[in-house]
Every structure is written in C-alpha cells, then in structure tokens.
C-alpha cells in the first residue's frame, strides 16, 4: 500500500478489541518499524457510524469539526533496529514457505 500510494508511512492507527493487547501492538510497531497509535475511542467503527448519521442531520457541521474530536490514548514506538526486523521478516517468510503444499 505504501508503494501504491507513494508515501512515507508515519504511523499506524489502530482500533478494535485486540488493541487492548499490549504485546500484540508492540509487535506490530516492531515489525512495521513505525509507531502504532490508538485513539481515545477505540470503537472507531461505531463512532464512524454515529458521525455519518450526525453529519446528515446537521448535528455536526463538517468533517473538520469531527477531526478536532480525535485524540490519542496510547502510542507504541518500534523498539527493534533494522537488522532485527530484516532477520525476523526473513524467518517469517521461511515459516510461510514451510506451511505450503500440504494438499495435493
């Protein structure tokens, strides 16, 4: 996706139940090499539904107004260096290879 969009990735914003798992979020940051950021309202999906509804009836006037509501609750910074990341990724790919071709 980064290649498609031709952009640097600054942070990965996350939501949903698993964001409660510190280890999982830290691994995500380490593997990606970018910070992982969690908003105050982790139920982003629901909030989005409310925003779409509220915009339609004028409860909120614009998406700019909604953007001002956003705030970060927690952030995980990557703790691996590049070498660690590359080794890990190579191992991962190897592991994937080992799982293939079970069914003839």
């Amino acid at each position: 996706m980064i290649a498609d969009a031709d952009l640097e990735l600054e942070a990965l914003k996350v939501d949903g139940g698993i964001t409660a798992n510190e280890l999982c979020m830290q691994i995500q940051a380490d593997v990606l090499g970018v910070a992982v950021s969690k908003p105050e309202v982790a139920e982003t999906t629901c909030l989005g539904a409310a925003y779409a509804a509220g915009l339609a009836v004028g409860f909120w006037s614009s998406t700019d107004e909604l953007a001002r509501n956003w705030s970060e609750a927690q952030r995980w910074e990557p703790q691996w260096d590049d070498a660690q990341r590359e080794t890990g990724y190579a191992q991962w790919k190897k592991a994937i290879d080992r799982t293939l071709d079970w069914v003839d």
Binding site: M1, I2, A5, L12, L47, A49, L55, T63, N69, W70
Partner: protein, 387 residues
C-alpha cells in the same frame, strides 16, 4: 453506542449473536435474533445513559457486508438463515462464472473478482435452493438485503400493518458495491450483472448514499410524520476510515477484530481521504488509491476465513435448544409488555437535531461466543474466532 457532541462515549450495550455452522464451509446467522438484539441494545444503551429516545439526534448503522438475507415483506420472516460473508457454499457458482468467461465483465463493472464472498451468488443460491423463494421474488414478496437493509427495513416499520407504511427497502453504495451486482460507474444495479445470477430485479433494495436521512420516522402514532431520523449503514472498516481523520502526513489504520483490512489514509496536506458524506462513498477514492481491488486484495482476504473451514464441534441436545429459544421469546414478551419495544420505535422519531442531543450508532452484534445448539438437520457450533 451513544456518543455526545465531542465524540465521547456516553453509553454502550453489547450483545453477541450466534454463529451457526450447519456443515463445513457454511456460516449462518439468525436474522430474527439480530433484529431482537438490536432492539435490546438500543434500549439497553438508553437506559444506562439515563436518556430517552427524544435525546437522540440520529441513528447510524454499521454492519457486516455481503451477508445475505432474503425475507417475506408481508410478514418480516426470513425464508432461511442469513448466509454470512464467510460462507463458501457458493464456490461453485463463482467458479462457473469464471468458467463461462464472465470474469472480465464482473471485474470491469463491479470491480470484484467472482468469489463466494459476495452477495450475488448467495442470493442465487437461496433462489435455487429454498422452496418457493423464486416464485415469491417474482411476485414481489421476497426481498433481499444485507444486514443494513434488514435492520433499516425493521427500524422504519417492518411489514405494513394497521394502515402504516411498510419499512424502507434501501441500502447504501458501500453495501451494494459488495454484491457483484452494482456498476461502480453508475452506482446502480446493473441489468447485465443481475442476469448472470438470474435475480429478479424487484427484490433488490434501492441504492442510496451512506450519509443521508433515509426516511423521517412515522413516530409513535400511525401516519404521523415527525422530524428526521438519520440512519446510514456503512461497513465497519470503511466507516472507521471516515471516523479517523488522516493527519497531515500519511497514516494507516487497521481495525482489529474483524477481517484485517488496512485502509490507506493518504490525505495530502490536511485533506482527509473521505471529505464529506460522499456519494461515491470512498469507492472512487479507493480506486484512486491504486486499484487495490484490482490487485486481488479482496480475494486474498477470503483465504483468511478460519471459521468457514472449521468443522462443527461440541454438540448439545435439542431440549436446550428449545430452552434458549423460549428464553428469547419470553424476553421479547416482557419487553413488549413493558412498552420498551414501543420506545424503540420512538427512537426513530427524533426532533430536529440540537446541540444537546446525542448521536447513537448501532453496531451489528458481534459473533457469538454463546453456547452451541444442535438441530436435527444442522449442528450448531461454538466459535470464538474473530474475523
């Protein structure tokens, strides 16, 4: 969940619903249970917040797309359980389309590769395999919807009765865009695509945008029209993009808990990816983002459906099955007696939006972790897997 004007959570009420796995590869939901739980969740959240229906400015819906319900508009009864997005029973329908050389047409018009995932084949399966549905559809009685359409139809009235209009049969572009039946250019049902699945067109809902007032609710008294009841369905992941604003530089968001679907938020400058309740609702933006769909991302996600491939496990007797159903019926009766169900209808009759009112969002109940049940013809199993 109920939110205030600052986007803070006011209250929430959550219920899980059952994942029904009649055989390997099949995944179903009970549409009646989803509607019952929706009502309970609304009243539950209002109770917890100490609010009444008139405190609400609008209602929004987010749902699991692709999941297919076909029901009788005269009674509100589904002809069969909802076929869930994960369900792979329509593999052969998808493969036949490919064999017949329709891949390019479907990809070009609908932007999707033929796959069991999408609603078109699921509708066709129900038409071909459930007795009487095709006839009923041709006569205009059997109608189709994803879960958004099912809930809006009920929330706006359900079946016509006592001189009251029938509920609204509508969907939004983000749901329609996952059926293989909508032309991405026109954002309308496409006759050529519909013909591939042999679907009577009159059973399809009207396609609307994702953020608009669909119908002012008739209110407590029959025939009486009151203020706007905004309600819009969107897919969770895509809606989350809306809710999360791209910062000045590139960010990516990932929703954990359903399918892992990273969405780019590559607003240049301070422009969000989706700027307003867009009529194309991100579909165009998504294509601009580099033809993700064309690169087969959708298909790849399908591979990660662990539940679909999991055989049913853990059995329970029929007696318990009846018991659970009885409990649900009893709960409903109590709600009706207490006037709570009437209050739910009133939720949809909010007056004009005011600053002090709250916006509420309904999220389709998540998968069940409740006990399994078994039926003579179908084993119901428990799963705690996430999408």
């Amino acid at each position: 969940m109920i939110f205030d004007h600052d986007g803070h959570e006011v209250a929430r009420h959550q219920l899980e619903h059952e994942q029904i796995l009649p055989r390997p590869g099949w995944v179903e939901h009970d549409p009646a249970e989803i509607w019952e739980h929706t009502q309970t969740a609304i009243t539950g959240a209002l109770d917890k917040a100490g609010l009444t229906a008139s405190d609400l400015a609008a209602i929004g819906i987010t749902n699991q797309r692709e999941t297919t319900v076909v029901w009788d508009r005269r009674t509100g009864e589904a002809y069969t359980n909802a076929i869930v997005w994960q369900d792979t029973r329509t593999d052969k329908i998808a493969a036949a389309l490919t064999e017949a050389g329709h891949d390019e047409l479907i990809k070009h018009k609908a932007g999707l590769p033929p796959a069991a995932y999408f609603s078109g084949g699921k509708i066709q399966w129900i038409l071909e395999n459930v007795d009487g549905v095709r006839e009923a559809a041709e006569e205009g009685h059997a109608i189709f919807g994803n879960t958004d359409t099912w809930l809006i139809w009920w929330l706006t009235g359900g079946p016509a009765r006592d001189g009251r209009d029938e509920g609204l049969h509508v969907t939004d572009v983000t749901n329609a865009g996952r059926t293989m039946l909508m032309d991405l250019e026109t954002l309308a049902w496409d006759d050529e695509l519909i013909a591939l699945f042999d679907i009577p067109k009159q059973m399809l809902p009207e396609i609307r945008s994702s953020s608009e007032v669909y119908r002012p609710h008739p209110g407590r008294r029959p025939g009486r029209r009151r203020g706007p009841g905004g309600r819009r369905p969107r897919r969770p992941a895509r809606r989350a993009v809306r809710a999360r604003r791209a910062s000045s530089r590139a960010t990516l968001k990932n929703t954990y808990g359903h399918r892992q679907l990273p969405r780019p938020q590559h607003g240049h400058g301070d422009r969000p990816l989706v700027q307003r309740p867009a009529h194309d609702d991100g579909l165009q933006a998504r294509r601009r983002a580099g033809g993700l769909r064309a690169r087969g991302l959708d298909r790849r996600h399908r591979v990660g459906d662990p539940v679909a491939a999991r055989p049913a496990r853990r059995h329970r007797g029929r007696g318990r099955d009846r018991g659970a159903r009885e409990v649900r019926r009893g709960q409903r009766r109590r709600l009706v007696r207490a006037g709570v169900l009437r209050a739910v209808r009133a939720v949809l009759a909010p007056g004009r939006a005011r600053r002090d009112r709250r916006a509420v969002a309904l999220q389709q109940p998540s998968r069940t972790s409740r006990g399994p049940r078994s039926r003579p013809s179908a084993t119901r199993a428990r799963t705690s897997s996430t999408r």
